[in-house]
């Protein structure tokens, strides 16, 4: 568990750092939009190619937010059934939820990689910036979701087994 905990710590730190960079980019993007609005309102001359930059930037920003969502397990989950059935079942239901999430993100990364290959020769409309490098970066950031989710899933499985054995031990003692 010491190794798992060390890995978890390093993945968590990486996801936080990536999200922080993403958030900083979001703030920069907000400032750019304000400058664009002011230039448009007062000088009738908006920033050239802002749409292109915004579109590329927002994709990367959003991709940087997904790993922290997964490592913090902040997805909305309805644990009504788990509460109804008790802790013993709840922990295993949590494992089911995490496994499905892992499956989806493996599919997402796989499909985003294919998408990045498909857009290899495409450029933005106004500034003619090649978009493939941005999509590879997006895919790379989303790839971090897999180890993040693996850690969460492993931890839930450990908790489930541990709680199960805990219950058995208690029952045995009784």
């Amino acid at each position: 568990m010491i190794l798992t905990s060390a890995i978890e710590k390093s993945i968590r730190k990486t996801t936080e750092l990536i999200a922080l960079i993403g958030l900083s980019c979001l703030l920069i993007q907000a400032v750019m939009i304000v400058i664009d609005v002011l230039l448009r309102l007062f000088l009738n001359s908006p920033l050239f190619g802002m749409e292109d930059i915004n579109q590329l930037l927002i994709t990367i920003i959003l991709a940087s937010f997904f790993p922290i969502l997964l490592i913090d397990s902040k997805n909305i989950t309805i644990d009504f059934l788990g509460q109804l059935l008790g802790t013993k079942f709840k922990v295993w239901l949590d494992v089911v939820g995490q496994l499905f999430t892992l499956l989806l993100f493996i599919l997402v990364v796989w499909q985003l990689a294919i998408f990045s290959i498909e857009v290899e020769y495409q450029h933005t409309l106004i500034l003619q910036i090649p978009i493939a490098p941005f999509w590879w970066l997006t895919t790379g950031l989303m790839t971090l979701c897999i180890p993040a989710q693996l850690i969460v899933t492993a931890s839930k499985i450990y908790q489930a087994i541990h709680s199960h054995s805990g219950i058995s031990e208690t029952e045995g003692t009784d």
């Binding site: 999200a19 922080l20 920003i61 997805n75 309805i78 089911v96 999430t101 796989w110 499909q111 294919i114």
Partner: protein, 433 residues
Amino acid sequence: MEAITIALLGILIMFALIALHVPVGVSLAITGVGVFAWIVGFDEAVSLIGTEFSATLSNMDYSIIPFFILLGSLASAAGLSTDLFRLANSFLGHRRGGLALATVGGCAAFGSVCGSSLATVATMTRVALPEMLKRGYNPSLATGSIAAGGALGSLIPPSLIIVLYALLTDLDTRMLMIAAIIPAMLAIVMNALTIITIVRINPDIAPKGERASWTTRGQSLIKSWQVLLLGGVVAGGIYGGVFNITEAAAVGVVIAFVMCGMRGQLTKSNLREVLQETASNTAMIYMMLIGATILSYFLSISHMPEYTVTWIDSMNLPAFVVVLALYLMYLILGSIFETVAAMVITLPFVLPIVTGLGYDPIWWGIMMLSVIGTGMNTPPIGMNVFVLFGMTRDIPLKTIFAGTLPFVISDIIKLLILTTVPEITLWLPSIIG
């Protein structure tokens, strides 16, 4: 197997996955892909994940979501809610029940900046609840007024949930926000009337406070200039047509960030909180949006919405009865699910039914958000109540639910008014649009 049978099975699988603790967004996406694969083919279904993720992430219209979430987080970190509460308190605090009225006013004003019910409840619980309890307010009224005020957060424009509804239905966001103005004002008035009625019946539960002098009121007003400026620029910009909604949110973010800095609130711990809140909430909402879009593909190829509309038509029920049945469904869903989840899961089926009955989708959006907001204060799992309970463990859950009950009743009356007279909602968009 017929497509409609597969679709019905798909819906059952989706609810089964949600019940099995699979996150809502993931459940929608997995069901959508699974059933699409069954009807069309595996390769096409899997490629849907790539196309939907890439299209949604790069869609600039959706970028309003992270901006609004960041705006709300920064406004919270800057302590703008405290200013709003103090301002409302200086004008209303001397009346019996005045602090509860100030809470509703503070919630409404803060909701207009932050756009989230749960965030509004969490913030106002920290700001207003200790003050009300210190003044000898009954815990039931104190918590009930916060929960009721929090429910206003999703209705008071500019609201994130209204933006999401507009994005999911391809409606004009500005029109929806304009349509929400009168129902939101009605909701504030109804909440205020509820408080006034409660304290008339039982004056001891809300003692009078000292009347603030005009100097104090003026000082509170001056202290609140920042939040008034923020609200004025964001709302004024949108309604005045100076900038679009995304630009308004970006302008709001920059102003809130500067205010945070001016107040010395850009501390490491605040920034960490803002980061986690913005990143996690943004990704969580995107996950649900993407899931809902993938789900809507299988629904449309199975023609399920059309089948449902035909089925309801065949029952020859009056449209009003169908709408009331939908309200009941949302009241139940709102008490179990978070607003975004309740809306995202049901919208693909419900919107065709409502528009099929001849109702305006703008009107329906406002009604749906109102009823889900009411559900958030309704037992057994009203989310607002649970946020309150989580933050104030000393007050029993039963007491909080008892406190929300009069507001739930007043909400139902408001719903009936807005349902029987849809013009209340549609009048402003018709003259401004």
